[in-house]
Symmetry: D2
Subunit: 285 residues, 4 copies
Amino acid sequence: MSDATIVKLNCPDAVGLLARLTGFVAERGGNLLEVHQFTDPESGWFFARMAVDSATLPGGLDGFRRDFLPLARDLRAEWSIRRESRRMRMVILVSKLPHCLGDLFLRWRLGDLPVEIPLVISNHADLEPLVAREGVPFLHVPVDPDRKEEAFRTIAAAARDAGADVLILARFMQILPEWLCAEFSGRILNIHHSFLPAFVGANPYRRAYERGVKLIGATCHYATPDLDQGPIIDQEVMRVEHSHGPEDLLRLGRDCERLALARGVRYHVTDRVLIHGSRTIVFKD
Amino acid sequence: MSDATIVKLNCPDAVGLLARLTGFVAERGGNLLEVHQFTDPESGWFFARMAVDSATLPGGLDGFRRDFLPLARDLRAEWSIRRESRRMRMVILVSKLPHCLGDLFLRWRLGDLPVEIPLVISNHADLEPLVAREGVPFLHVPVDPDRKEEAFRTIAAAARDAGADVLILARFMQILPEWLCAEFSGRILNIHHSFLPAFVGANPYRRAYERGVKLIGATCHYATPDLDQGPIIDQEVMRVEHSHGPEDLLRLGRDCERLALARGVRYHVTDRVLIHGSRTIVFKD
Amino acid sequence: MSDATIVKLNCPDAVGLLARLTGFVAERGGNLLEVHQFTDPESGWFFARMAVDSATLPGGLDGFRRDFLPLARDLRAEWSIRRESRRMRMVILVSKLPHCLGDLFLRWRLGDLPVEIPLVISNHADLEPLVAREGVPFLHVPVDPDRKEEAFRTIAAAARDAGADVLILARFMQILPEWLCAEFSGRILNIHHSFLPAFVGANPYRRAYERGVKLIGATCHYATPDLDQGPIIDQEVMRVEHSHGPEDLLRLGRDCERLALARGVRYHVTDRVLIHGSRTIVFKD
Amino acid sequence: MSDATIVKLNCPDAVGLLARLTGFVAERGGNLLEVHQFTDPESGWFFARMAVDSATLPGGLDGFRRDFLPLARDLRAEWSIRRESRRMRMVILVSKLPHCLGDLFLRWRLGDLPVEIPLVISNHADLEPLVAREGVPFLHVPVDPDRKEEAFRTIAAAARDAGADVLILARFMQILPEWLCAEFSGRILNIHHSFLPAFVGANPYRRAYERGVKLIGATCHYATPDLDQGPIIDQEVMRVEHSHGPEDLLRLGRDCERLALARGVRYHVTDRVLIHGSRTIVFKD
C-alpha cells in the first residue's frame, strides 16, 4: 500500500525558500504528492507541508531525516517528518455527554480518522458501555474537587502509558492544570460550545440564548492554560431563530460541536495544522 | 393595487389568545394574508403579526384601530396597526465607507426595501456624490470631538424634520448620545462588523485577525446606549483561512455587513421585528 | 410528564379558517403550546399544525377527535390528530454503508429522535453487529436481482409485522417497487447523495466531480415510484474545491447526508411535514 | 507602489516540477509573494500560480518572459505571465436587470475588482442611466430575433474595439453564437440563476419553486456553446422555506447571483482560475 512521508516546517521567510525545500526533495528523487505553503507577510514567517511518496525515498525515514537536518538548521526551522502509516495515538477525555465521543467513534470506524485510540478516560462512569462496545479500554478517574491534582496526575500517567500523541477533550468539562497543558502543548484539542471568542467560559448556550444571538456555534481549539484562549483550528455555526429555546440551542449546537471537533481532529492527526502564536495555519484536505 | 394592514402585538400569554385575535379579524370579514405568532415559554409572553387584506376591512384603518382598542386593552398588549402602503421614512447616517449605503440604494431601487429615503446625513462630505446621484438630499454635519452634543442636536433636528420613522447607521462610526437612543428607541438600526458578542467595540476585524478566528461576521442590531449590546436582528458569517490578512477580512466582511444590514432593515421596515428585552422576535418573509 | 396533542391539517383556504381552528381549541379550554399555519397563495390551500397541551383536553384523545370530525368535514380537510407520547415506529432499511444508520442511532440515544426502532432490515449482513449492539432486531433479506419481488414482499411483511409507521431508507441503494411506495405513501423517507434535482440517479458524487461543481449536497425526500422525484423535506450542502477528488467528495458528502437525513426524519416523526403535490410544508422546530 | 508579476501555468505532472519552477524564480532573485500549485492525480496534470514581486525581477516583464520560454517549452506547458498593474479590460453585457451590474460597479468603486470597464453593452436601453452615472460608455444593440447574427457581429466588434480581455454576462439573457464563444474562449463569464447542474435553461426560479427545493442558488461559469455546461468557477446557495413563493425566490436569489458573480469575476481578473476540461482550478485569495 502507498504511504506518504509528511514534512511540516516553519521558519523565517527568505527568498528562494520553497525552491530549496522542493529542490531538496527533487534531488533525492522524491515524488511530491501534495505541497502547501504560506508566507505570512505580517510576521515574515514561512510555513510549509509537503507529502512525499515514501516509496520514492530510498534512504528510508531515518536517512531522509538525517539529510534534512542541515537544511532545517540553516533555515532556523521548527520541523517534523513523519510517516503517514505511523498513526497517531489519540486518547480521548470525556465526562457524561456522548455525542462528540460517539461521533468520533463513527468516523474512526469509517476510516475518516486515521488514528489508534488506545484509551478513553472519564471523570464519570456513564460512557463506559459506549466505549466498551468499541473494544477500547476505558479508565474512570473521578475528579474530586478537593483532590483535583491527584486525579490529573492519574490521568496524565494513563495518557503517557497509552503512548498518547494527542489528547482530545470531547466535552470533558474540566479545566486542565497548567503543567498538563504544558506537557502536551500543541497536542491537546478541545471543543468549546460557542463561536469563540463569544461566550468564553461556562454555559455558553444559555448565555447565547439570553443575548439573543441569531447564530450559535462551536470552536475546536488547542487547549492552553488560559481558558478558551488557545489557537483556533476550526469553527462551525448554525442559524437559530427566536423560537429556539435554551434546550433547542443545546440540541442544534451538538451538530456544530460534532462537525468542528471532527474536522479539527482530522486536520491535527494528518499533520495539517501549524501553530503560530495565537493563530493556526491549517492546510486543509 | 392590493394593500395589507399589519397588526403587530405582544402581551402576556393566555389561553385562547390567538383565537380571540383571529376571531376579531374574521368577525369583521378581514382576510388574513399572513399570520405569525410565537409564545415564549420562558417569559410567558405572546407575540403576533397579522397581515390583513386592507380591501376586506370596510371600516378603514381608523375604524379598525378603534375597534381593536378595547381588545388590546383587555389583553394588556403593546401593539401597532399600520398600512403597508404607508411606507416608513428611513434616514441613513454614514461616515466615509460607501458599501452599506450603496447596497441599500441598490436594493431600494430594486423595490426590495419598501421605504422613503428623505435624507442621508454624514459627518464627512465624501459620500455626497453617491447620494446626490440618487436624488436624495444629503446633509453634512461635521462631528467635532469637542462639540459632539451640538452636532447630534443638529442631526436629530434634521431627522425629525425629515419625518424619520427609522434611523439606519450604515457604518456611521460615531457613538450616539443616550438621549438620541432614547428618542428613537427601537427605531435605530446599526450594523456592527463582527458576529456579536464577539469583538464588541473598535477594530473588530483587526482583533478577529489577531485572535485567529476561522469565521468573520456582521451583526445588525438595534442601537442602545450600551455600545453593541442592543437586541440583535440578524447576523451573517463567512469562513476565512489563515491566508486572509487584515485587509482581506475587511474586504470579505463587507459582504457580511451588506447582507446582515439589508435583511435587518427589510425585516424592520416591513414590521416583522418585535423587541423583547435583549432579544428580538423576527417573523421572516 | 407533559404531553402534547398534535393536530395536522390541510384544506382549501377560506376567510376565518384560523379563527375557527383556534376557536375550536379555545372553546374546549385547550392550551395551545405551538401553532404553525401557512396559506399558499398559488394554490389557495391552507396548512396548519397545532400542539395542544394534552392535560388541558379533558375529553381525551378520542373525545377530541370525535369533536373535531364535523369541523374537519366542514373544512373539507385532510387531517390527523396524534399524541406526541405515542411515538412513531420507525423501520430502517440499509445496505452496507454505516454512516447514516450510525448517526440515526446516535441521535436516537441522545433523545433527539422520539421514535421506537423495532427493526432494521438490510440486503446485506454487514451492518448486523452495529444493529445488534443497540439491541435492535436485524433482518437480513438478500435482494437477488432475479427475485426482487419476492425480497420486497418479505421486507414489506416484516415492516408490517413491526408495526412500521415510517420507513427510512438510510442509503438502502435499492429501488422500491411501486406497490410498496404506494402502501407507505408519504411514509418512506430517502436520503439521496446530491442536492436534487442535480444528479438524479446513480453515482452522484462521481458525476459531481466530473461536472466540476463547487458545492456538494444531500437531499432528504419522500420516496415515490419516480426515482429521486419525491417531495423534498430538507437539503444540505458543503463547499468543495478543485483539490477534492472523488474520494474526498464521498467523505465530505457523508456529513451532508447525515445532517439532511437526521433533520428530515426529526421533522417527519414529530409531525412537522405536510405534503402538497411535489412540495412539502415543513413547520420546523 | 508595489506590483506583482503573475505566472500561471499548467502542464503534465513530473517529478521535481515545483522545484524547477520555484528554482527558476529564485535564480533570478525573484521574491515569491504567493505560490499555489495543485497536482490532479486523476489526470496527472500540474497547475500553478506564482506571484513574484516585480521589483525583484531586474530584467523586466519581457526579459522574464523570454527567460521562461525554454522552461515552459520543456515542460510542455500552457502558460501566461502578466503584470498585476496591467488591469484587465472588462466589457459587461446586460439586459434589463440591474442588480448584478449595480453590484459589480459598487465593488469596482471600492477597489475590489481591479479592472478597467471600457464599455457596457445591452440589448435594451433600460440600464443606460445606471451606466452613464458611472462615466462608463453604454452601447445599446437591440437583438432582433430575426437578425441576431447581425446584432452579435456589432457586439463583438464593439468588444474588440474596447480592447476587451474578458466579457461578463451579468444577466444578459441571450444565448451567444458559437463563434463568439470560440473567439473569447475561457474569457466569457456568465451568471446562471441556479445551482447548476440543477435547472439548466430558462426560468430556473420558477422550476425550483415547483420542484420544492429547500435551497436556491447561482452559478458563475465560463460560457461555452453548450448552454449552462461551461466550467464552473463559483456557486452560492441560500436556504428557502415553503413560505417563499416564486417572487421571493427571485428576490433571495439576487443575493446568490451577486455574490457568485462577484467572486467569480474577482478570481478571473486576478488570474486565479485555470480551466481543465469541464473543471476549474481556482486558487482563491
